[in-house]
């Protein structure tokens, strides 16, 4: 069974540009989560989807971040415009049910210059 996959693995962009990260959850997992770790900090929750619906986006830092999950399969996280402090590693995770173990993808390492 394929695990959670994320694309791209790395992205280097300039401040003010737009970047879109993609996550493909484990097949059959309705629950999808985004987390990130910025330099020097812990991994922090961003938001949670159940199928195509956002259940909780309380961890999204500001309105420059937009997450979507059209069709309830893969998800995208767009940062527009990117700022220097957005640099970090963005992880996606999925689980079969809420409260069940979350399985993480390899992450996208974002560097904003």
């Amino acid at each position: 069974e394929a695990g959670v996959t994320q694309f791209p693995s790395h992205s280097v962009i300039e401040k003010g540009q737009t970047v879109t990260l993609r996550c493909d959850p484990i097949s059959g997992h309705d629950n999808l989560y985004w987390y990130r770790r910025v330099m020097g900090k812990e991994i922090k929750f961003l938001l949670h989807f159940v199928k195509e619906s956002k259940q909780d986006e309380s961890g999204m830092p500001n309105n420059r971040f937009l997450a979507e999950r059209t069709g309830g399969t893969y998800s995208t996280l767009k940062v527009q415009p990117a700022e220097l402090e957005d640099s970090g590693v963005y992880f996606c995770a999925s689980s079969q049910g809420v409260g069940e173990t979350q399985y993480f993808g390899p992450g996208t390492r974002l560097l904003v210059l």
Binding site: G99, F104, P106
Partner: protein, 111 residues
Amino acid sequence: GESVGLHLPTLSVQEGDNSIINCAYSNSASDYFIWYKQESGKGPQFIIDIRSNMDKRQGQRVTVLLNKTVKHLSLQIAATQPGDSAVYFCAETTGTYKYIFGTGTRLKVLA
């Protein structure tokens, strides 16, 4: 690497010895705890979990102990191998979806 700037406590263990990694969690209402292993350039990999109605759970070469009285979680790795070298994170949740991660501990296995 992605851990630069994150001042992780480090545990150095001789190959073949047992490792004990500790984690103090924050919320007394947390009822589900997970240990993840993260190797360089990869995402957190599930190792073992435990629910709050248990105080010990064993897997293959790993054991998790939970002490709710002092809000302490530990991961024991038996016969530590070079492939165990990684950063280990504990995570807690109150039975929901929002995991709260610890800062992590770097395990170095010495040959």
